[in-house]
Symmetry: C2
Subunit: 189 residues, 2 copies
């Protein structure tokens, strides 16, 4: 049984927690399931984190940072339509390779209201702040066009929902996806 530094362990806990929380959400995931995935005893989690909620929060924040970084790297040095394409393709890659990150996003959106009604105001604040940072991250390469950015985010959310519902690749719901790939501009209204 390999010993690890607490910091390294915390890392693997966050990874395992992301997988588990993405599947079951906050209430549908037991700390035991996370511990089992890490390969560590359940009580030890409470030595690495003050409680279940802290683990969830850590996973949520990691999820946001990863997504921001994905778009930052994809749009590096690009602008306008090229950046749009690059970021769209990057997200497609996330769908294929890290679907749990999309699910984690959904779980975090859904967890805000519940947390808020339990008196936890910080969680929602943190999620909204993360969203705005993500928003700004895509806003700049898209030429600071509010409509363009909103549409991009909207398509992202639709993708998240379709993936969550389990629509297989090739299903007709995906047909109208990616206006950036379909034509040289998003549909005019």
């Amino acid at each position: 049984m390999a010993r690890m530094s607490a910091e390294e362990r915390r890392e693997s806990v966050i990874r395992a927690a992301t997988t588990e929380f993405a599947r079951g959400g906050y209430h549908g995931t037991s700390t035991e399931a996370i511990a089992r995935r890490v390969g560590v005893s359940q009580p030890y989690l409470f030595r690495l984190f003050p409680g279940k909620k802290a683990i969830f929060l850590a996973a949520v924040e990691r999820c946001i940072e990863d997504t921001i970084r994905t778009f930052e790297e994809a749009s590096q040095g690009l602008h306008g339509e090229e950046a749009l394409h690059a970021m769209g393709n990057a997200y497609t890659k996330v769908i294929e390779e890290r679907p749990e990150r999309l699910m984690m996003q959904m779980q975090m959106y859904v967890a805000v209201k519940a947390a808020e009604e339990e008196g936890d105001h910080e969680f929602g604040e943190s999620v909204r702040d993360g969203w705005m940072r993500l928003w700004d991250t895509v806003h700049v390469p898209l030429g600071a066009d509010v409509g363009e950015t909103t549409t991009f985010m909207a398509y992202g959310m639709l993708i998240n929902c379709l993936v969550a519902m389990g629509f297989p690749a090739g299903h007709r719901v995906w047909e109208g996806m990616y206006p950036s790939a379909r034509a040289k501009g998003r549909p005019e209204h």
Copy 2:
């Protein structure tokens, strides 16, 4: 305490369950909370429904039907851009008056994968079927334009997420919403 027919009770259970499940999701909602909201003892729920899952499913199906009906009624006799406006406005009204229906949507998306991994294949099937019916409902009035329909749904999902995160009306995330309505200076809610 007014006595009701079982059918009427089931109705109020579905309404209460929608509110509660919208807040806490499947696992974050106790049957006791639902019963309390209905004004009935918790065990009695199990006489009206075979189990918690059946209550959730009923609430999910009701949510889908209501949303479909909202768009059907809004687009009655309209086509193209007019239908788009009408349905957009109808959804805006849902945001204001029935936010729990949006949250219920999110909860149902998120519940699919978990159910599937517990062996329940019917639930996801039912959700996907509902989505397709909803899709077709807006597709026809929008002139059977796939891109238009997809964009409409995408904006809907973005709205759901923003509402879930608790962004207040007037926040700048709402700025780029409804490109079709923005030009006309639609008042913010």
